[in-house]
């Protein structure tokens, strides 16, 4: 392992330039910045620890290998997210190869079907639960979404990519991103209502 450089003082394009020349310490700094996010993203899409670790490795190995192709027009993070999404989807397809490919499924635009429960939430729902309980509730809710919705939601609302970046990373159109994101948000809202609704409020009070 090479000695640590003063990588912290470099900005990202300098780190990328150094890494391109084979400076592993500089690349390590880039890895440290994003590995947790890439691991989380891979875990959300593949829903499997082992696959997520493979994706993490493959993503950074490929990024290292193909740094010469990175034009610097997009952010380094967006670029590796694209690699990670492709690797994750490949894993997902491999595991579910006997079934139809989930990301290509047609989008049902019947948004109205997903709003069933209407109840007011607490003002600060996160304060009702411990950090750990909260993380579990949120993770489990995301995991129940279908892959096509889950992937879009994770990229847009957890990893905070733009609509355009999400469309590019998934190879789908902007309207498809928007429509899937709405479905995902509404489905999650529905699932979380059970945990976060204000005490004493009748679920159907407003219907």
């Amino acid at each position: 392992m090479p000695a640590t450089t003063e990588a912290g003082v470099f900005d990202e394009s300098q780190l990328v330039a150094k890494a391109r020349e084979g400076d592993l310490a500089a690349f390590n700094e880039l890895v440290q910045r994003y590995d947790r996010k890439i691991f989380r993203l891979a875990k959300h899409i593949t829903q499997n620890d082992e696959d997520a670790e493979d994706v993490l490795q493959e993503t950074f190995l490929k990024a290292f290998e193909h740094l010469g192709d990175f034009q610097g027009q997009s952010k380094f993070y967006t670029w590796i997210v694209r690699i990670a999404v492709n690797e994750s989807l490949m894993k997902l397809r491999k595991r579910k190869s006997d079934r139809t490919v989930p990301l290509d499924e047609p989008v049902d635009t019947g948004e109205d079907q997903v709003v069933r429960e209407i109840a007011v939430w607490e003002d600060n729902p996160e304060q009702k639960y411990s950090r750990e309980e909260m993380a579990n509730i949120l993770e489990e809710a995301v995991d129940t979404l279908r892959p096509a919705f889950r992937t879009v939601f994770v990229l847009r609302d957890i990893e905070e990519l733009s609509t355009e970046e999400t469309a590019e990373a998934l190879g789908i159109s902007i309207p498809a991103v928007k429509s899937r994101l709405l479905r995902a948000r509404l489905q999650l809202r529905e699932k979380l209502t059970r945990f976060f609704k204000r005490k004493g409020d009748d679920v159907f009070a407003y219907l």
């Binding site: 392992m1 084979g22 592993l24 690349f27 390590n28 890895v31 590995d35 947790r36 996010k37 691991f39 989380r40 670790e53 993490l56 490795q57 950074f60 190995l61 290292f64 290998e65 948004e111 109205d112 709003v115 209407i118 109840a119 007011v120 939430w121 729902p125 996160e126 909260m134 993380a135 949120l138 995301v142 939601f153 609302d157 957890i158 905070e160 928007k178 994101l181 709405l182 948000r185 509404l186 999650l188 809202r189 979380l192 209502t193 976060f196 407003y206 219907l207």
Partner: protein
């Protein structure tokens, strides 16, 4: 006056603050007059907020060290080309 269905179709852009002033005004009017849509708006907004506040967990040390080993191996292989 927007219908609830129309409101729902614009909900994402409203939440992401990408609607023009005129549409924003109509959406705001709708939720002051429609309690159901106000609840959907408020709870969807909170849904997005709780997920945005989620911190990624630390990667297990062995996972990280295996990644670094693989990278070093790759670098060594490159140098020998």
């Amino acid at each position: 006056m927007l219908t609830c269905k129309e409101f729902l179709q614009e909900l994402n852009d409203y939440l992401d603050d990408t609607v023009d002033i005129e549409l924003r005004r109509r959406l705001e009017t709708h939720i002051t007059e429609c309690p159901n849509c106000w609840v959907i708006f408020d709870t969807t907004k909170k849904t997005i907020q709780v997920y945005k506040g989620m911190q990624p967990q630390v990667i297990p040390e062995d996972v990280h060290s295996r990644l670094m080993q693989a990278l070093e191996k790759k670098l060594a292989a490159k140098r020998h080309l």
